[in-house]
Amino acid sequence: MGLKEIIRKITHKGGNGMKKIEINPMTRLEGHGKVTIFLDENGNVENAFMQVVEFMGYEKFLQGMPIEEVPRTVSTICGV
């Protein structure tokens, strides 16, 4: 398969006619991320975005917890 064909296969049109490639999820890492690449009419990359799609909320729910319990709790922010 030629490069043009591959790009045609994995792209789809965004709302304003712009071509968009979504890589979802980003793999081989802990945590959830997504890459979105926008192509111009010639198929060249015009812009690209990396998003972290997760939100946890430890800042809030740890409030009120005895301090000595915090280390074993926040170890689950990332377990890798």
Binding site: P25, R28, Q51, F55, G64, I77
Partner: protein, 318 residues
Amino acid sequence: MSKPKLAYYLAGGCGGCDIAVVDLAEALVDVALALDIVFWAPTVADVKYKDLEAMPDGSIDVALFSGNVRNSEHEHIAKVLRQKSKVMIAFGICASCGGIKGLVNLHTTDQLLDKAYINSFSTDNPEKILPQTSVVVDGKYELTLPTLMDARPLDEVVKVDYYIGGCPPYHEHIGKAFTALLSGQLPPPGSWITMGKAVCEVCGRNPVLQGKPKKLATTVKRTIEGTPTEGACLLEEGYLCLGPVTQGDCGAKCPAANIPCRGCGGPIPGVKDFGLRAISAIASMLDNEELVDQIPDPVHLFYRYTLPGSFLGKRIKR
């Protein structure tokens, strides 16, 4: 005979369960050889959501789901995985009961976002920008994010065949679970995969196992207060340990290191609501009623790993 097909998904978790699988060490080689891994996202295999969606229904033999269901993406993949898989396992305490990350349910989404993005000590966000499910950058680049929801255990989204507790599951227990899976020696559907003993029953500090009587706690202590007597029951000394109601597939590793059990293993068989049972167990082991008032921060203690799946979980917001 073709190898059983395995899928693994990390939803609202931390990857600790993935690492616990890696902790199988040499046994991992046997497991990897015996299974065909068709999906393991996002941590291990480079397979995308689109590839999973394209797989035939029922084509995956076993799906392990770790982490709770916290946003629309987790929910979508949970439903897709259920459709593609013959057996679905809630792997670890987040998927089984909600986990530590399920403590978000104590607060509203607005409160959580406000603290993380606006009103925290190290945040500089004068425009008060918060994550949006949909945004157009520079007037032309459309980007989307999943919708945040209250945390839920997996069985509130799809049917779950088996549960494995632990934060993370203890590696020797994972080895036993894989052996049971591969040999088809599984308990009835809907069960926890566990040896069925409480942490106390395998704890070297348990006085009953040493032929001594069990004493009631006459004080309530935080773990920073004093040092536990060597070999003595932590609960008797006043360190609130949830070993009596927690599955002991971990081999009571925390009490062995002077750290009271916090219940990550999940409820012992027959218990539906871990927090309620833990409150009742601890109350029955205190010498007098006044001690109850000394328990620091009860909700983070009794419901640390099981709030979303509990009766209490859906009813309170601070």
